[in-house]
């Protein structure tokens, strides 16, 4: 026997009976914006009573609620059917009226804005956004600094005047970069504390951004993390030894010919740190100790 299906259609929720007829329906909210906020509420807020009543069990027909949003709001005692096939849902959808264009567009735009806002305000996403912005500003600042030589030689007076003005702008821009870095470092120490202590907060933030999230970083192997951000393609014999890790703290303390070996062990330690940041375990002191002992060994071996 065909099941009775409860499903969403735009701003309303419908109950479709086994013969494919709409049995009852109720509005999720009174405006597109209100429905968008209800769908995105975190933690979930209760459904309007009219909608909740649509789940009332009826004798004679099993009920299917395949929609994950509605299923998460089911009153106790109503079975959901996550295994409902696409076919069953397709048949039920045939019964729904087409949404009117104006409210539909307003609703989907409001929902999109709400989802973007909710996701981008998570600390991890803030870290990724800040890391990318800091990298962009640093690149353009580097370009400005590299151009400095050109202006400092400028002899004639109109150019000197311009050069002064440009110099002031550059200092202000450098200040902006410093402020941005400071914010980035604060967030990095909150989101990935162990990794920040091990490789420095800025490199830690860039690693998270390059991986696309701290969970993605924690799932990586050390060898993959070692090459994150490397520009050259790995190949046999000659290839990049390190990407973002090249700028990790204490890289400068290692003799250049041992930098590859250091990057390898630092990458292994970084993966452990990233995993500790997922579980919330403070492991930084131990990892920093291992890192420093490794640097000592690499320096001794040189002599």
């Amino acid at each position: 026997m065909a099941p009775r299906v409860v499903l969403r259609g735009g701003l309303r929720v419908y109950r479709v009976d086994p013969s494919g007829r709409i049995e009852a329906s109720a509005a999720l909210g009174d405006s597109p914006g209100a429905v968008a906020r209800l769908l995105e509420a975190d933690p979930p807020t209760p459904l309007p009573p009219d909608v909740a009543r649509l789940f009332a069990p009826a004798p004679g027909a099993p009920m299917v609620v395949a929609d994950p949003f509605l299923a998460s709001h089911l009153p106790t005692g109503v079975p959901s059917a996550p295994a409902a096939s696409i076919r069953e849902l397709r048949d039920a959808r045939e019964a729904l009226p087409r949404p009117p264009p104006g409210p539909e567009r307003a609703f989907l735009l409001a929902l999109a804005a709400e989802r973007i806002r909710r996701i981008l305000q998570e600390p991890e996403e803030v870290l990724i956004s800040l890391a990318r912005e800091e990298e962009r500003v640093e690149r353009s600042l580097d370009r400005e600094v590299a151009a400095a030589g050109h202006w400092l030689d400028a002899g004639s007076s109109p150019l000197t005047e311009y050069a002064d003005e440009w110099q002031r702008f550059r200092e202000r821009y450098a200040q902006h970069h410093d402020d941005l870095s400071a914010r980035l470092e604060t967030v990095a120490r909150q989101v990935v504390p162990n990794l920040s202590d091990l490789v420095g907060p800025r490199v830690a933030a860039r690693l998270v951004a390059a991986a696309g999230g701290k969970a993605a970083l924690a799932r990586m192997s050390g060898s993959r993390l070692q090459l994150l951000g490397a520009r050259r393609r790995p190949s046999r014999g000659r290839g990049p030894r390190y990407g973002l890790l090249f700028r990790a703290s204490r890289m400068a303390d290692v003799p250049p010919e041992r930098a590859g070996a250091y990057a390898r062990s630092l990458a292994a330690l970084s993966v452990i740190a990233a995993r500790a940041d997922i579980t919330g375990r403070p492991l930084a002191r131990e990892l920093v100790g291992r890192r420093d002992r490794r640097i000592e060994r690499l320096r001794r071996r040189r002599q």
Binding site: G9, D67, A83, A84, I86, R87, L89, E104, A112, I119
Partner: protein, 255 residues
């Protein structure tokens, strides 16, 4: 502003134009957005119309049309579901093609490209952005009504299966199914032509038109599509919550 010369509508299309004398042929769509420019493409004024150049090297659908793809193409007043909309380069052209009475439901999974898509949608009256994962159609089933066409551009190893699951749920029985096949995402252990053959076999419930190779605009890509047969809707399909597959095999190391 100079008036454009030699612009003519393509037969059977309400909002698609070409310019005489261009080699290879250049395609233009009638802009609905205000301001019309979306991705620094060229803009032409032809009478009352504002036309946007459809750059074949930025858009797989555009490349296919340039290389002779005839059917199916979004028509005036139709509703299309677009999987893998990214920042909206190609979706904006499909939105032009369906015109003011049509709609393009543009699905994108990752939030940063989606934020740009949302910005575009605010000034594109018939482009509707949805932040969702095309592997989980149940999650947006309540947002997308039955559609006249589905365009799939998702760059996943199981892109054909993802597209077909969406077609089973959303596509009207007289609809159109078009997929931009990115063979590089399906593994490097087989040649592009072998992937194409496998995809064609997997789409046995669709009456396919001959595939178009998108080289030189997009290497290792094909455009493929047609109209569904009844068999497509008889298949039960997935449970709507497909698990992601493992990573794609890398190319063998060159020694």
């Amino acid at each position: 502003m100079r008036a454009a010369r030699g612009i003519r509508a393509l037969a059977g299309h309400a909002h698609l134009f070409e310019r005489a004398g261009d080699e290879p042929r250049s395609l233009w769509t009638e802009a609905l957005g205000d301001p019309p420019e979306v991705y620094r493409e060229r803009i032409l004024h032809s009478g009352e119309r504002v036309l946007r150049r459809w750059d074949p090297s930025r858009s797989k659908f555009g490349a296919a049309l340039t290389k002779g793809w005839a059917e199916p193409v979004p028509g005036d007043g139709e509703r299309w579901l677009y999987l893998g909309a990214s920042t909206g380069t190609t979706p904006s052209h499909l939105a032009d093609l369906v015109g003011p009475a049509g709609r393009v439901y543009a699905l994108e999974r990752s939030v940063r490209p989606f934020a740009r898509l949302h910005q575009l949608a605010l000034r594109y009256p018939n482009l509707l952005p949805i932040l969702a994962d095309a592997r989980r159609p149940m999650e947006y089933a309540g947002l997308v009504p039955p559609v006249d066409g589905i365009y799939v551009d998702v760059a996943q190893p199981d892109q054909v299966a993802i597209g077909l699951d969406n077609a089973r749920l959303f596509l009207g029985s007289a609809g159109a199914f078009v997929i931009a096949l990115k063979t590089a995402s399906m593994g490097r252990e087989r040649e592009p032509r072998q992937h194409l053959a496998a995809a064609v076999a997997e789409m046995d419930a669709i009456e396919l038109e001959p595939a178009v190779d998108l080289a030189p605009y997009h290497r290792r890509h094909f455009l493929l599509g047609g109209r569904p047969t009844r068999a497509l809707f008889r298949e039960p399909g997935g449970d709507g919550a497909r698990r992601p597959t493992g990573p794609v095999n890398r190319a063998p190391r060159r020694s």
